[in-house]
Each structure stands twice: as structure tokens, then as C-alpha cells.
């Protein structure tokens, strides 16, 4: 593919800045710096607190960097069995669920992006309407129940098999990033619709596949509500359910605090554990997203803006 010409941002045009613009820049940098600090500070604080000595955290001595470096909380989490079962479950839901999601989304997006699909408008409308109107929680729950999926791994995957928002992004990508002439040329060469998808479209789709994968992995990783309503078996619980027990309800597994004798020590460890758990639960998603970030504007949103 020929490289697209990136429009030059206004800021790249170098002209001696006027006095007004210098003041503007000063204000602008100040505002963005404040915004930056407000977003960043809580993130740093959590990491520092999780690595600090408990007493320092609860007395407010941790301001920016860890005080009295300690890995005690992480050691405890490492030995906390139900967290790791849940972690494994979440990885399972994320891997299997995302595979199903991406395949079905690409299939549907391909068919619906083809101008010559008979009934394209009606079918697309059928999908889009479902975003704005749905039967609600109870009928959906009853359906999943009638299908015998309550308390199965399938309940965490099948009812969310496609996110229609992501489908729209994928359709917009196919329509704006893949030139129409390609289809005509392929047809002349005797390519049928299936071959066109696998041989021509897919090799041109890494940006959209990356973005879809990221969005779906994260939605599975962060899935809480689905598990709350469909699952009751502890062995199937994803990470978020366990996190909720600890972070929100402050319920710790019995035996977790056995080695700590007095109440104050347990109290301190509880706080420390929460900080460490926030880190452990969020690091995987925060690690993968920068790799996909470069595709955000280039691949998808451009299509969304133009389409």
C-alpha cells in the first residue's frame, strides 16, 4: 500500500510566534501539565503505596515514592490461592472469548462492508438498532438460563460474542482503508468472495485486528457484571469478582491474615494488599495497550470520522 500523506499539523508550521501566541503557549502548557499531573499522580501513588511499609502508608508518609520499601503485600498475594484460580479463569475468558469475538466481528464486518451484498442496508440496520434498543436485563438473563448456560464458561463468552460498536468500527475500516478497486481487480483474476477475504482483505487488516483484539481483551479482562449475574460456582469466577470482594467489600479469604497477630498489623496489611492487588490486576492491560496505541488514530478512528 502506498504510504498516505499525513496532513501537517498546524503546530509544525514554524513561524516566529507573536507575543499573543507566546502567552497562549504558556497557558496551554500549564493547563496540560496540570491535567497530566492529575491523571498521573494517583497511578504513581498506588504503585508506591503497594511497595511501601504498611505503617508508612497508613500514617500518610508516602507522598510520591515508596517509603520503607517492602514486598510483603506481593508475597501475600502470591500465596492467595483464589486470586490465581480467578486469574487463570480470566485469561481463559479473555483468550477464548476474544478469538470468538474477533472472528465473528471480522466475518460480519466483511459481509456488511460489501456494497453488493443483497439486503445490506436492512441487515446493517438490524445490527445498529440493537445498540439503541434492547430487551433489557431480565429477558436476556432468562434466555441465558433457558439455554442452559447459567453457571457455565459459555455464559461469559457467547452472549457477548459481538460488540456492535466494534463491528461498526470494523465496517468503517474496511470501507475507508481498503480501496474498492481491489475487489474489482481480484474478481477479474477469478477470486471469489471467500478467497478475497482470506487472501486480500485479511493481509491488509492488521491495524483493525490489533484494535479489535485490544478492545475485546480488555472488555473480557474487566468483565464483572456478566459474572455477577450468570455465575455462582466459585471455580468459574473471573478475577474481577474476587477483586470486588477484597477491594470493595473488604472480605479476605480466611487464613489470609493468620500469621499476623495483632489487629493493627492485620488492618495495615489489608490496606497494603489492596494497593498491591490494584497493581497486579491492572498491569496486564496497561502493558498491552501502548503497543496498540499507534493504531488508534491511524486505523480506526479516521474511518469512523470520515464514514
Amino acid at each position: 500500500m502506498a504510504p498516505t500523506v499525513q496532513p501537517l499539523p498546524a503546530s509544525a508550521i514554524r513561524i516566529r510566534e507573536s507575543r499573543v501566541d507566546q502567552v497562549f503557549n504558556l497557558v496551554n502548557y500549564t493547563i496540560l501539565s496540570i491535567f497530566f499531573v492529575i491523571i498521573l499522580y494517583p497511578l504513581i501513588y498506588v504503585v508506591s503505596a503497594s511497595l511501601s511499609d504498611g505503617a508508612a502508608v497508613i500514617s500518610g508518609r508516602v507522598v510520591l515514592w515508596p517509603v520503607g520499601f517492602s514486598l510483603a503485600a506481593y508475597e501475600k498475594i502470591f500465596r492467595y490461592g483464589s486470586i490465581w484460580t480467578a486469574y487463570a479463569n480470566t485469561v481463559f475468558y479473555a483468550v477464548v472469548g476474544t478469538s470468538v469475538n474477533v472472528v465473528l466481528t471480522l466475518f460480519a464486518a466483511y459481509a456488511l462492508s460489501r456494497q453488493d451484498l443483497y439486503g445490506r442496508k436492512v441487515l446493517t440496520g438490524l445490527f445498529v438498532f440493537a445498540i439503541f434498543f434492547n430487551g433489557g436485563l431480565i429477558p436476556t438473563y432468562l434466555l441465558v438460563k433457558d439455554l442452559g448456560m447459567l453457571n457455565t464458561r459459555a455464559a461469559m463468552i457467547i452472549p457477548q460474542a459481538i460488540s456492535i460498536w466494534n463491528l461498526i468500527i470494523a465496517i468503517a475500516y474496511f470501507r475507508s482503508a481498503i480501496p474498492e478497486e481491489l475487489l474489482e481487480a481480484a474478481r477479474l483474476d477469478g477470486c471469489d468472495d471467500v478467497q478475497y477475504f482470506f487472501r486480500i482483505l485479511l493481509p491488509l487488516s492488521p491495524p483493525i485486528i490489533a484494535v479489535l483484539t485490544l478492545f475485546y481483551v480488555i472488555s473480557h479482562w474487566n468483565q464483572y457484571f456478566t459474572a455477577l449475574i450468570y455465575l455462582s460456582d466459585k471455580d468459574l469466577f473471573p478475577l474481577q469478582i474476587i477483586l470486588r470482594d477484597i477491594l470493595v467489600a473488604s472480605n479476605f479469604e480466611a487464613g489470609m491474615m493468620e500469621d499476623l497477630k495483632n489487629m493493627a498489623e492485620r488492618e495495615t496489611m489489608r490496606e497494603l494488599l489492596k494497593y498491591a492487588l490494584i497493581v497486579v490486576a491492572s498491569v496486564p492491560v496497561l502493558i498491552i495497550y501502548p503497543f496498540v496505541q499507534k493504531y488508534f488514530v491511524r486505523g480506526i478512528m479516521l474511518g469512523a470520522v470520515k464514514g
Binding site: Y110, L126, I229, V248
Partner: protein, 311 residues
């Protein structure tokens, strides 16, 4: 069959036959859509019936609008609807303009380390799960050991029991949402700004326009269509206050301001001893219908005044 099959194929059948391979691609997604998105709409008729576990939908007695009028007359109706709309509007008022503002501001920076850092860090909170986000909020606002109260006490104020005050719930809900999503929501505006023709800016520079003037007369008009589209979509979602966050932030002390339609439906329908499916389904259906009406209204208004519309 008395009649012989007509030999002439219908237009539809020929159309489908021509692109049958595309229909193969579409088959599974379409089945999924009909089963998981449209069957529940059919199932929502239990809102007009007395449905109990063990009965089928059609075997349940038809009671018409009984569940709806029960909800409209219940003591909680005004509170739940009021909280839902109040929280959404508050969030829309604060959370919608901020990303636009930040995007315009970011767009003025030269691409470099600072710009990339601001983008990278400000997108990050979007990917944190709701459970962890609520955990963070609770940690920071904790009465005795939370950093915010430690700071307040250090400078001589009394500690505030943030989560215990019903009046503070909307602020906590909205501003934590701003913290979490403002950065990521700039993405779409940044994309729109990058499609503005640079010739416009060059011409304005030649005419001596300063940065502020260029923002006002070039950048803002350039992103108005996408901004309106997003605003319409957001209005359509006004009633869908995120279940997870409201539910997880709830406690007995703030229930007065934190109970919204989605959490109420959950409690009536799936939680507690006797689930009342039909009543909960009625509240859910009321929510869906009202949401659709809001979306259509916002869309019509936008069409009338700005020619931007979704459909």
C-alpha cells in the same frame, strides 16, 4: 401441496444466491444477533404478563400495564428516575466538554515527548476495570487512612466521610469518571482535528491570525459534526447510567442518591429472596423505550439545527 412450485425465482432469492458466500460469513453473526439481541426484545413481553419461573412466556397471564403503573406509583419511582437523569446530565455537562477542550489544547502542541507522554498517560485510566476503579476511589477517600483525608488533616481540616454522605455521591461518581475517561475520549477529536486541511491554517497564518483565533475559526468548526454526533449518542445513553460503577459505589448511607434504574432492576429482578421478573422487566423496558425516545428526539433536533444526524 396443491400448487406447483413457481418456477420464477423471486428477486430476493436471486440476490441472496448471487452473494451466497457473503451470507455464509454473515450466518453466525446473524444467528447470534437474532438470538441474543432480538429474542430478548420478544421476551420483554413478560413486562405485560405475570411471569414466574417454571411458566412459559405465553402461558403467563396477561396483565397489561399493571407492572408499569405499579412502578410509576411506587415511592421509589421519582427517586430512581431522578437519580438516573441527574447523574447522567451532571456527567454529560462536565464529562462531555472536557475532552473536547483537552483535544484542542493538545492539538496545539508540536509532536514530541511531552505530547506523547500526555496522550499515553491520560489514555491509561480508561483501561482500568470498574471494580479496580471503585477500589481506587474507596482507597483514596477512606475516612482514616485514605491519602485525601490524611492530607486534609495534615493541613488542619477535619476528615470528611466522603462515602458516608449521600450528597457527595454525584460528585464522586462524575469526577472519578472524568479522571478515568477524559483522556481516552480525546482520541476521536484528535482524529477529527488531524483531518482538517492544513491549507486553512496556512492561509490564516498569512492573514496574521493567532493561535486562539485559529482554534475558534478553524479547529472548532472542523470538529463540530463529530462533536454533535457524539452528543446525540450520549443523549441516547442518558438513562443507561453504568450499572457497575453505581452498584459498586453503593452503600446503605448513600443509597438515597446512588440508586439508579439499572441497579434497581437488578435488585428487583435477580437479587434477594423472591425475584420479581415481570416487574423488573417492566422497569427495564420503560428504560429502553425512554432511551430510544431521547435518542430520536436529540437526532431530530440536531438534524433541524445543524444538518448533522445519525439517521
Amino acid at each position: 401441496m396443491a400448487l406447483p412450485r413457481p418456477r420464477v425465482q423471486s428477486v430476493a432469492w436471486r440476490g441472496i444466491k448471487r452473494s451466497w458466500q457473503l451470507y455464509v460469513f454473515l450466518a453466525l453473526p446473524l444467528i447470534w444477533l437474532l438470538v441474543f439481541m432480538y429474542y430478548p426484545i420478544y421476551g420483554a413481553q413478560i413486562a405485560f404478563r405475570d411471569f414466574y419461573p417454571g411458566r412459559t412466556i405465553l402461558n403467563s397471564e396477561w396483565v397489561g400495564m399493571a407492572h408499569f403503573s405499579r412502578f410509576f406509583n411506587s415511592v421509589l419511582f421519582e427517586r430512581v428516575l431522578g437519580n438516573t437523569i441527574g447523574l447522567s446530565l451532571y456527567f454529560l455537562l462536565v464529562g462531555f466538554p472536557i475532552p473536547v477542550f483537552i483535544a484542542l489544547s493538545l492539538n496545539q502542541l508540536r509532536t514530541g515527548f511531552f505530547k506523547r507522554s500526555v496522550q499515553m498517560i491520560s489514555y491509561a485510566p480508561h483501561f482500568i476495570s470498574t471494580v479496580v476503579m471503585v477500589g481506587l476511589i474507596l482507597q483514596f477517600l477512606e475516612m482514616r487512612r485514605g491519602p485525601i483525608n490524611l492530607l486534609l488533616q495534615a493541613v488542619g481540616f477535619d476528615a470528611i466521610h466522603f462515602m458516608g454522605k449521600a450528597s457527595m455521591f454525584p460528585d464522586i461518581y462524575v469526577w472519578s469518571g472524568v479522571w478515568q475517561n477524559s483522556g481516552f475520549n480525546t482520541v476521536i477529536y484528535m482524529a477529527a482535528l488531524s483531518t482538517i486541511d492544513p491549507a486553512l491554517h496556512e492561509a490564516a497564518l498569512v492573514d496574521g491570525a493567532n493561535r486562539l483565533q485559529r482554534i475558534l475559526h478553524i479547529d472548532i468548526p472542523g470538529i463540530i459534526p463529530i462533536t454533535l454526533t457524539l452528543l446525540i449518542l450520549n443523549i441516547g445513553q442518558v438513562l443507561n447510567v453504568g450499572f457497575e460503577k453505581a452498584f459498586l459505589l453503593q452503600n446503605p448511607l448513600n443509597l438515597k442518591t446512588s440508586e439508579v434504574i439499572s441497579t434497581y432492576v437488578y435488585k428487583v429482578g435477580l437479587f434477594g429472596g423472591v425475584p420479581n421478573f415481570s416487574y423488573a422487566a417492566a422497569i427495564g423496558l420503560f428504560n429502553s423505550v425512554l432511551g430510544l425516545l431521547l435518542l430520536v428526539t436529540a437526532n431530530q433536533l440536531s438534524k433541524k439545527f445543524s444538518k448533522t444526524s445519525l439517521f
